[in-house]
């Protein structure tokens, strides 16, 4: 009773999710059984209570003294109370006041809390701070006791008391709606609306409020339940409508005096109240779920098709050999298909391509760290001759950290915010290397020095939020080195960092390859990074490798039109080369998983595509040990085509005088 379960907003995202296909034709919040039952019960109880005087079998004060404390019967469907009054008539009649009074609470709470939240979100820090501090004070007051004090002064005037509850609880509404309003306001279209000179009131009405509707509905339903409980609690104490008017709370009080001789008395009033509150909360949950977006992934893991035996024995020099790797959403589209590459000891392989090409999925599958609902559905990952696909979590754990380690894109969130760097480094050191506490600490200092941190003692004492991005990435690299791995998987390790810091991190990685014989698989969309660091390259497009080979060969003599286009779209200019007037672009976007054509997946964006490109064809050998997946590769090489910006420019701006 007593509770403010207004915490669901944490789970609530204001962005509406795509509705599920089930039970079409119904409002979305009724598609969950809880929401449907809750709404149905609420409608039933509201209609029943407000129309009760028209149809109830007895008046609320009709006494049948011959049948006191009767169990349900034909004459009294729910039995009778200690004075022989009909329980059905009393229970339904009693509903009207709490339902209306709780509605008053909700209206008052939103009437105060919502406008204040909008004002605070609009007026900025100072107003927001004053309002937020005041609400903090209000939320710390013991609600029920203050309501009792109000009753002590003005008497048991239900609607006034429940309006006061609305005032007190508006602080909770304010806090939740403020959070939503602030996040809505940060969205660009609000700025756009303001720039276009739309007034503040209209911005709020047209843009901000609709985005808050779902969260507001969730809160309103929860508040309604709280209102019912508090209202009934007060009536239980005897501060409800006076006898003979019935109230659920006082009927329960009455029942508590008869648990010895008639426990049934507890059931009608108690269930009516409990079911109504449960219904309100179920409705709130259904609303919140829609806001959070329904994620029902069919959990069906298809069996993996093993790599074909024709692929032969692993090549002698490769430590990592990926063959025909296919990754798919369980029961859904394929994300990565038939990817093959190999990596020698002490070499660096770059996986490059636009966003959404499956680079990260490929990298994460190497450690068995795919997201829930995504799994390897075919192919092999041979690590020193042993297939990692299909290993149990336990077997993988023996590989993770000690043979293969990983660093990720966002160093600031890759470290545990709750623990010091010292704890995070010494804990795996003790596990991997069997060190004592003091040994682990001195090893941690050495590791931090190795990754170029000049003040290891201070960094050890720090927490992640006290580090800069570059510093955090160095710590993350040190963490990855705790198990002395042979292979490091680096997923866009520099993307989130400043340009100067990027260069430092790349230098560090290059040094590590040289010093401790580390192999690296680096995922990047930046060809500059690849040229800088990599020995080998695999260019990915729409879930497959379109071209691979040594970095020098692929970057100097790209064979696949996509690689050519990527290189031409890259703003890095090699030393001594002429600065292009404009960068080339690739029209269109990467086709999403599930809508890949059977032929060349790049054909729809390729300048050199012909009809023959629409048919399936295998990858061809290229660049010595590499491959290229283009059916016209020989033709294009003969013609010496290039993917230049001019071609597009000339078409678009005929005679506009673009210098060649």
């Amino acid at each position: 009773m007593s509770v403010l379960p207004l915490d669901a907003a944490d789970e609530v995202a204001p962005e509406p999710a795509a509705p599920t296909a089930r039970r079409r034709g119904m409002p979305w919040f009724l598609r969950r059984p809880g929401g449907l039952l809750g709404a149905a019960w609420l409608v039933l109880i509201v209609v029943a209570s407000f129309t009760a005087p028209l149809w109830r079998p007895y008046r609320v004060d009709d006494q049948d003294l011959a049948h006191r404390l009767a169990l349900p019967s034909g004459a009294h469907l729910l039995g009778t109370d200690p004075l022989g009054r009909d329980l059905l008539s009393r229970v339904v009649t009693a509903g009207a006041e709490p339902l209306l009074a709780s509605f008053v609470t909700v209206v008052v709470a939103f009437g105060i809390g919502l406008p204040l939240a909008l004002i605070a979100a609009e007026r900025g820090r100072r107003v927001e701070r004053v309002l937020s501090r005041s609400t903090e004070v209000m939320l710390a007051l013991p609600l029920v006791i203050i309501l009792l004090a109000v009753i002590g002064v003005i008497g048991a005037q239900t609607y006034v008391v429940m309006a006061v509850l609305g005032v007190l609880i508006s602080a909770a509404v304010y806090r939740i709606m403020l959070g939503v309003a602030q996040s809505v306001r940060q969205r660009l279209y609000i700025d756009a609306a303001r720039v276009n000179g739309i007034g503040s009131l209209k911005v709020n009405l047209v843009h901000v409020l609709p985005s808050m509707a779902t969260v507001a509905a969730v809160q309103a339903a929860q508040l309604f339940g709280i209102g019912l409980l508090i209202n009934a609690g007060l009536a239980f104490l005897g501060f409800g409508p006076g006898e003979p008017q019935p109230s659920w709370g006082f009927m329960i009080q009455d029942a508590s005096k008869h648990i010895y001789d008639d426990p049934w008395l507890l059931v009608p009033s108690g269930l009516a109240l409990a079911l109504t509150v449960v219904a309100a909360n179920e409705l709130a949950d259904a609303l919140a779920h829609r806001a959070a977006g329904e994620r029902t992934v069919a959990r069906r893991r298809p069996g993996r098709t093993p790599a074909s035996p024709a692929d032969g024995a692993p090549s002698a020099s490769a430590v990592l050999e990926v063959r025909g790797l296919t990754v798919a959403v369980d029961g859904g589209p394929t994300l990565v298909s038939d990817v093959s590459f190999s990596l020698g000891a002490g070499r660096v392989l770059g996986l490059v391509g636009e966003s959404g090409c499956g680079k990260t999925m490929t990298a994460r599958s190497l450690l068995g760290l795919l997201p829930d609902g995504v799994s390897v559905s075919g192919g092999a990952i041979l690590w020193r001759g042993r297939d990692l696909v299909g290993l149990s979590e336990r077997e993988l754990n023996a590989v993770r950290g000690q043979e293969i380690a990983m660093i990720s894109q966002e160093p600031m969130v890759a470290l545990d915010p709750m623990f010091s760097i010292a704890y995070q480094l010494t804990q795996p050191l003790r596990r991997f290397r069997g060190l004592s506490r003091t040994e682990a600490r001195s090893t941690a200092v050495e590791l931090l020095e190795q990754v170029g941190i000049v003040d290891p003692a201070r960094v050890l004492k720090s927490f992640p939020h006290q580090l800069s991005g570059g510093m955090a990435q160095r710590v993350a690299i040190a963490l990855a080195l705790t198990g002395r791995p042979k292979l490091l998987i680096a997923d866009e390790p520099t993307t989130a960092l400043d340009v100067t810091v990027q260069a430092e991190i790349l230098t560090l990685l290059r040094d590590l390859v040289r010093e401790i014989d580390l192999s690296i698989v680096i995922v990047s969309h930046d060809l500059g990074v690849v040229a800088d660091l990599c020995d080998d390259v695999a260019v990915m497009y729409a879930g497959e490798v379109v071209e691979s080979g040594t970095a020098a060969a692929v970057l100097d003599e790209p064979a696949h039109p996509y690689t050519m286009a990527l290189l031409r779209a890259n703003p890095h200019v090699p030393e001594g080369a002429a600065v292009p007037v404009r960068l080339a672009s690739i029209a269109g976007a990467v086709p999403p998983p599930g809508s890949w054509p059977s032929g060349c997946r790049f054909a729809s964006r390729c300048r050199f595509a012909r009809d023959e490109c629409r048919k399936p064809f295998p990858a061809l050998p290229a660049h010595g040990s590499g491959s290229v997946r283009c059916i016209r590769v020989d033709e294009l090489q003969r013609e010496q085509v290039t993917w230049d910006a001019d071609a597009v420019g000339a078409e678009l701006e005929t005679g506009a005088g673009v210098p060649a």
Partner: protein, 313 residues
């Protein structure tokens, strides 16, 4: 850290002050008067006016307020209009009853709720579904109704616990526990349900964090990822909700005390409300607010100990 504690302390003091102002204004801004309460329906308007003058009720409001504050800082809450008892002494005797119920119920809610919530988040499947549905119902049930059901089953049917009465802790520790166990269990149903929801949501969020993937990439044992790293991440929202819970449980215990006939603050406030005993009303509000505020200060310190961002700020 110091700034954080200073800010929390300022809010705590502001809250108590707000409680004083609200209850004081509430009592003074209405047509009723203490004279009318003391003399009852038989008092003539002249007698009532005389009594009000004697009690200082006809002085300017701000003088009365300062007068009250002056007494309050010396710990003097005045005397009851009904029987002339010292309100401070009366509430001090009742506080342990309500406080022990609220504190134990909060602690038990925390333990049960965290176990259930973490289980739901970690295990998934039908167990998670049962916990989710169960906590949804648990937080919706009226506590006083649940209390009656407990009395029916645990006291009357199984004869395990006494249904009513209070035994002081100093008098008989085991008897004390027995006498408050039913009210504590009653309040724990709703309390644990809320904590279970918070813990489950927090745990799910924690397990989806990027730093958990870092730990997995290092081959960290699953138990360590769950019960050291993810649980620690979840602890901050759980402790914050526990603070809100305590405020609620303290109010809830007022209603529960009525059911179990316990001589706590709830009984005092119910009596003061029924009798329109104005000084007693103000006293109850202030004492209850003070207890809630002190508890929340302690929980704030706990948050600071748990969350390095707060501790090092």
């Amino acid at each position: 850290m110091l700034a954080y504690i200073g800010r929390r302390l300022a809010i705590a003091i502001a809250t108590v002050l707000a409680a004083v102002v609200i209850s004081f204004l509430l009592v003074h801004a209405t047509p009723g008067s203490p004279g009318a309460v003391v003399l009852g329906p038989s008092g003539t308007p002249a007698q009532i006016a005389a009594k009000n003058h004697e009690l200082g009720w006809d002085r300017p409001l701000w003088i009365q307020f300062l007068d009250y504050l002056g007494h309050l800082v010396r710990g003097d809450l005045g005397v009851s209009l009904i029987d002339g008892r010292s309100i401070g002494a009366d509430l001090a005797a009742r506080l342990p009853v309500t406080a022990s119920i609220a504190v134990l119920a909060t602690l038990l809610s925390g333990v049960v709720g965290i176990v259930l919530g973490v289980t739901a988040a970690v295990r998934g499947g039908w167990l998670a579904r049962i916990i989710t549905v169960g906590s949804g119902i648990g937080l919706s049930l009226p506590a006083f109704w649940v209390g009656i059901l407990f009395v029916l089953v645990l006291s009357l049917q199984l004869n395990l616990l006494p249904a009513t009465g209070y035994i002081a802790l100093s008098q008989d520790p085991l008897g004390w526990l027995g006498s408050i166990l039913l009210p504590v269990l009653t309040l724990t149903v709703g309390g644990a349900a809320i904590i279970a929801r918070t813990a489950a949501a927090g745990m799910r969020e924690a397990l989806g964090q990027e730093h958990i993937r870092t730990l997995r990439a290092l081959g960290t044992p699953t138990w360590r990822i769950r019960y050291v790293h993810a649980l620690r991440f979840t602890s901050v929202p759980v402790v914050s909700v526990l603070g809100i819970q305590f405020i609620g449980l303290f109010g809830g215990s007022v209603i529960i005390e009525n059911l179990f006939a316990l001589p706590g603050l709830g009984q005092a406030s119910q009596a003061a409300v029924s009798a329109h005993d104005f000084p007693a009303l103000i006293g109850v509000v202030i004492v209850a607010t003070a207890v809630v505020v002190v508890t929340n200060l302690l929980l704030d310190l706990m948050v600071a100990a748990l969350d390095p961002k707060v501790r090092t700020a």
